[in-house]
């Protein structure tokens, strides 16, 4: 068997090995020419290292997503979350939060930060609403205000307020919940007005500043963005950079972060940053964290294994030069054909190093084995290439074809990955076969010239070139036992395999304990804000309002942020204008009375307290804690409905009931309050048409594109939309209104689709193609089926293991599927070729020779991938674990199951595994 005739492929390989090792100079020249040609391809290659590069180019949603980031400056906003929950007193905490927000705005507005910060906003721009408030109100709301403010004197005003409460909110928890924030602002304003009345009833004078502040609170509510318990607040920072600006993003976020954290320390509160650019910065930092040292150690370990296995100090160069050149050629071919590398294909080039080095290991192991058997250099290199070359070629081409099969995928990213990965294998294969013989020839020339023998260290620490022969001997003695054990393991894990699942929550791939991610949960819990949402771009402001109204009605939507409420059509300007003018006309007639009916005031205050208590009941039942606490602080009732504190109401009741209230002072208050409130309302009652140009810049930057032609609608969901079940409801409901929803969530769906649908389809096609190639190579159906069974068991074992320990597939670790097809098939192919070459009864030698190379390739690949495990990023960590386990599984089934089955089939059952037509 061993002296079988060389086939054409072996003659070509052997011929090149001999010629190139003797004519290494000419060979290098030839390879240099090829490399220079590939250099042209590299020069036209574009590297798109953005998240969008892996999303389909032809999708409208992706186009819109890019547009949002590029054209709407506020889309990249950073949120500075101020946290004073450690402060016990609620009022002191709120005060500290507000002062810190003001300080952040002041600090980041300084020139020192202009490189990274466009604008910082701490509160709503009230001046604009003070000037145009009523023009933004719907007709029914203007009519309501007309009723409410028809008489601004104390008793009539309180009567109208009571009527309004009873009409608007009575028993309607959902309406109250929808407008909780607004209601809280209004009630706090009301509390201030009551405080002023109490002060006045006690005979104290009320300053115009106090009155002005109380009326502003009543009319406009809270201007700061505060949490439900008012112990946290948010400042919105608009940076000069976006997620796309990789170079500026990290230093920009770092500068802003240290500025706000420093302020937090000074003010005695915690301040943290979140937002997509902050998450992006954290991804950049954490993707390196924890793996720099481990990667370095892994590299050293791989080099040592190779140096001692092949007893050559020059092995890093002999395997490294073709490895790097192969990658360069891959980039060149990619430049010529697909013109670009995306973030995924660029990542694959790193994985290609692990696959490419395997070819070198097989060739060098074979070479060393021949030398150990006493062959002289030229003969050894010829035999090495001949013996392992066929296996390498078949294995390599099979893996390459498996990758090329991905070209049938629907998604562009998978197609590109298929091309680059397939081409990468081909280039590495060619580079190894073309480079290694002349490099070994050059080494031999130098050795001969210097007359050096093998270094003594290799005699001391000697790894045998047939180190795996022990496994081979044991296996040859009990092939059935080994096969049954491995089959049982495979079947056990196969039963668990259906439980493996796919993670669609991209946030689960980030590092644990990351402040930017934790703060997203805080936003949901404390502010009721979702960390992510879908957006819609519209070219028509009228459509913006229509869509906003319809989207807001969806049960999965908490609120819609858009210019909808700020767009006033010409006909509305007219109809609202008429109502506003009428309202203003009535307001003008308002005069402060010179008297006050104390009894009526008392009755209306009783009624107001009852209205507040009923609203407190509704807030209690609806779990609206912020509103409940606010109302409780006004009425003095705790959450159980127990009276726990004396309120302004109680003190006013007591003074009015006992006749101790200073009526004159109250009349004076009325005298100053009526004109003050009238002036504020008249300012709001401007009938001047409002256009988009006069909107505050914070609103324009958020919702109008730079060219002023496009409008953004942000649809804020009720829950964290990264949770898959909810995301389906949210996107399904949105689709009933518009199909133009886009956002980072879409990327998650797209990646899930690629992994789940396209990835599976491509894997099935790849397996079919692998089957056909193996059939062409071995021309024996039994051998091919057996090879595929080994691969199948590897997959089932991996899936079962992942399911058992709860590791999910994600869009990074899913790369294990093509890698396992490649490596799993490769290993079995090498054993098949060697077994066919060595013949029956020689499995011990087959494992001894081939198994050693398989062991070294598996160990080096595993060590390489295991270096990801210390990463703080969960996505990287799981990739490291999954790939390392996959290597162990592939090696175990190739060396412990497949050879045993070969022995059973050929030597026990006597079946023929030789190519058709050969006996």
């Amino acid at each position: 068997m061993k002296n079988q005739k060389e086939n054409f492929r072996e003659r070509i390989l052997g011929g090149w090995a001999v010629w190139s090792s003797q004519n290494w100079g000419k060979s290098f020249l030839l390879l240099l020419v090829i490399t220079l040609a590939m250099g042209f391809g590299v020069s036209i290659l574009k590297t798109e290292m953005t998240f969008y590069s892996i999303l389909p180019n032809n999708s409208n949603q992706v186009r819109d997503m890019k547009m949002i980031l590029e054209e709407f400056p506020a889309a990249s906003s950073i949120l500075a979350v101020v946290d004073a929950r450690a402060v016990e007193d609620p009022a002191a905490a709120e005060e500290q939060v507000k002062r810190t927000i003001d300080a952040i705005v002041e600090k980041l507005s300084r020139r020192d930060y202009s490189e990274y910060v466009v604008r910082t906003t701490g509160k709503t721009d009230m001046d604009f609403f003070k000037a145009h408030g009523f023009m933004f109100s719907k007709e029914k709301d203007i009519e309501r205000s007309s009723r409410l403010y028809s008489d601004l004197n104390l008793v009539p005003l309180l009567t109208r307020i009571n009527e309004d409460f009873e009409r608007e909110y009575a028993g309607d928890e959902d309406k109250l919940a929808d407008e909780e924030q607004l209601a809280v602002g209004m009630f706090r304003g009301l509390s201030e007005v009551l405080g002023i009345m109490e002060k006045s009833a006690q005979g104290e004078s009320v300053s115009s500043v106090e009155l002005d502040k109380a009326l502003d609170s009543w009319l406009f509510g809270e201007s700061y963005l505060l949490s439900d318990d008012n112990k946290m607040g948010i400042a919105i920072i608009q940076p000069t950079f976006t997620m796309e600006d990789f170079l500026t993003m990290a230093p920009g976020v770092n500068t802003i972060e240290s500025a706000v954290k420093e302020l937090g320390l000074e003010m005695g509160v915690d301040v943290g940053l979140t937002g997509m650019v902050v998450v992006g910065r954290d991804e950049m930092v954490t993707s390196e964290q924890g793996i720099i040292l481990s990667s370095f150690l892994a590299l050293i370990a791989i080099l040592l294994i190779m140096i001692f296995s092949f007893r050559m100090f020059s092995v890093p160069l002999i395997s490294g030069i073709p490895l790097i050149t192969g990658i360069f050629w891959t980039m060149g071919m990619s430049g010529f054909i697909i013109h670009r590398l995306n973030i995924m294909t660029a990542m694959y080039l790193v994985a290609l190093m692990g696959l490419g080095i395997d070819f070198a290991i097989h060739l060098l192991t074979s070479f060393i084995q021949e030398r150990d058997e006493g062959e002289e250099f030229t003969s050894a290199i010829r035999k090495a290439i001949m013996k392992s070359g066929s296996g390498i070629l078949t294995g390599g081409l099979t893996t390459a074809t498996a990758f090329f099969a991905l070209i049938i995928a629907d998604t562009e990213m998978i197609r590109e990955l298929g091309f680059v990965a397939g081409m990468g294998i081909v280039c590495e294969l060619i580079a190894m076969i073309l480079f290694i013989p002349p490099l070994l020839g050059f080494r031999q020339y130098r050795k001969d010239k210097k007359g050096k023998d093998e270094n003594r260290i290799f005699s001391t620490v000697k790894i045998k070139s047939d180190a795996a022969s022990g496994i081979g001997k044991v296996l040859s003695k009990a092939p059935v036992l080994f096969s049954i054990i491995m089959l049982a393991i495979g079947i056990f894990f196969a039963t668990r395999a259906p439980g493996v699942s796919l993670s669609t929550n991209l946030m689960e791939m980030e590092a644990e304990g990351l402040e930017s991610i934790l703060l997203q949960d805080t936003l949901v819990e404390e502010f009721g804000m979702a960390p992510d949402y879908l957006s819609v771009i519209s070219m028509d402001i009228g459509e913006v309002r229509d869509l906003s109204d319809r989207l807001e009605d969806l049960s999965s939507v908490k609120m819609v942020d858009s210019l909808g409420p700020y767009y006033v059509s010409p006909s509305e300007t007219e109809s609202r204008g008429a109502l506003i003018r009428q309202f203003a006309e009535n307001l003008e007639k308002n005069r402060a009375y010179k008297n006050l009916d104390g009894e009526m005031l008392l009755q209306e205050l009783y009624r107001l307290e009852m209205n507040l208590m009923e609203m407190g009941d509704m807030a209690y039942m609806g779990n609206m804690n912020k509103l409940l606490n606010t109302i409780g602080s006004i009425t003095g009732f705790d959450n159980d409905g127990e009276k726990v504190a004396e309120s302004s109401f109680d003190r006013l009741f007591s003074m009015l009931e006992e006749g101790n209230a200073d009526s004159q002072s109250l009349i004076e208050l009325q005298g100053t309050m009526v004109p003050a409130l009238k002036n504020k309302l008249l300012t709001m009652a401007s009938d001047e048409p409002v256009t988009l140009d006069i909107l505050p810049s914070t609103l324009r930057d958020s919702y109008i594109s730079k060219d002023g032609k496009k409008f953004l609608i942000n649809v804020i969901p009720t829950q964290n939309p990264w949770e898959e079940d909810f995301r389906n409801i949210y996107s399904e409901q949105m689709k009933t209104i518009t199909d133009k929803g886009t956002g980072m969530l879409l990327a998650g769906d797209q990646l899930s689709f690629m992994a789940e649908q396209d990835g599976v389809k491509a894997a099935v096609v790849a397996l079919i193609v692998v089957f056909l190639i193996l059939l062409l190579d071995f021309r024996n159906i039994k051998l091919v089926v057996l090879t595929m069974v080994s691969l199948l068991l590897s997959f089932l074992t991996l899936f079962g293991f992942m399911s058992l320990v709860g590791i999910k597939f994600d869009f990074i670790n899913i790369i294990v599927v093509p890698l396992l097809i490649g490596i799993g098939v490769d290993d079995a192919v090498h054993i098949n070729h060697r077994y066919l070459y060595e013949g029956k009864g020689r499995m011990g030698i087959v494992i001894g020779k081939t198994g050693t190379a398989l062991m070294i390739t598996s160990i080096t690949t595993m060590v390489g991938f295991a270096s990801f495990i210390p990463s703080v990023m969960r996505g990287m960590r799981s990739t490291g674990i999954v790939l390392s386990i996959a290597m162990v599984i592939a090696f175990s089934f190739s060396v412990l199951f497949h050879p045993g089955m070969l022995i059973i089939i050929t030597e026990k059952l006597g079946l023929n595994i030789k190519p058709w037509g050969k006996k």
Partner: protein
């Protein structure tokens, strides 16, 4: 001949469709039977879980009856202390609330029936429409069989038949052998927004009634569990005078 065959096939298909629909209606009617009772009295406790955290348990006493083709229901809170004496009165589409903190009564608009009841995941309509069965405003279509909560069930789609139906669609799962509701999926704008699961069925006056049900909200991190303690049909405790605003005023 060919035309005749096609006609015959179409007639057969239509007839099968009608029978299929009728069958679905029968199944739903039989399942609804448990919820249709004159003068039903019950006491129950309701716990709302927000983000997995249990909120204060609400205990209530409920009365319902049907008279002259009208459905009446009254729920009175027994606990927590703050809500004790708060009551909801529903007569057809009209809804009144009596606040225990002030003793005042407010009438709500009919649209409020869609709102959350007591901060729970049930709407007033979910809680009070029992008198005429769950499918009153919907057209049923049998779409298959499925095993839910370990029970083999008919899967029936109920599409809104009237414009004031609270949901666009419901998918109900009714046990094949006992005609019990096991699960109801509520749909709004094309998505399953809530699911109610019934369990602990007990036979009361010859009817199977669930003594425990859970409403899982899929659009908010919330779920509501209701545990029924007492359930009586044709109960002497239910009196006509309870279903008036005058009675609401007298509650202490």
């Amino acid at each position: 001949m060919k035309k005749k065959s096609i006609m015959l096939l179409l007639i057969t298909l239509c007839a099968a469709g009608i029978l299929w629909a009728q069958n679905a209606q029968d199944i739903v009617d039989r399942a609804d039977h448990a919820f249709q009772g004159d003068r039903v009295y019950s006491t129950s406790s309701m716990t709302v879980y927000k983000s997995g955290e249990a909120q204060t348990v609400q205990e209530m006493e409920s009365y319902s009856m049907e008279k002259n083709g009208k459905t009446y229901s009254l729920s009175v809170y027994l606990a927590p202390r703050r809500m004790k004496g708060t009551a909801n009165l529903m007569i057809e589409d009209d809804l009144w609330v009596r606040f225990s903190s002030t003793g005042r009564i407010r009438k709500l608009s009919s649209s409020a029936k869609k709102n959350s009841a007591g901060g729970s995941d049930f709407s007033y309509a979910d809680m009070g429409d029992g008198g005429q069965g769950l499918s009153e405003k919907y057209t049923p279509v049998l779409i298959g069989e499925e095993t839910v909560e370990g029970e083999k069930c008919y899967k029936i789609e109920l599409n809104a038949a009237v414009s004031d139906a609270p949901y666009d669609k419901m998918v109900v799962f009714i046990t094949i052998d006992t005609y019990r509701y096991i699960k109801i999926d509520y749909y709004e704008s094309g998505a399953n927004i809530k699911s109610m699961i019934f369990s602990d069925y007990r036979t009361v006056d010859g009817k199977d009634y669930p003594f425990f049900y859970v409403m899982n909200n899929h659009t908010k991190p919330s779920r509501t569990e209701v545990s029924v303690d007492i359930f009586e049909t044709d109960s002497s405790r239910v009196q006509d005078r309870f279903f008036t605003t005058g009675y609401l005023e007298s509650i202490r």
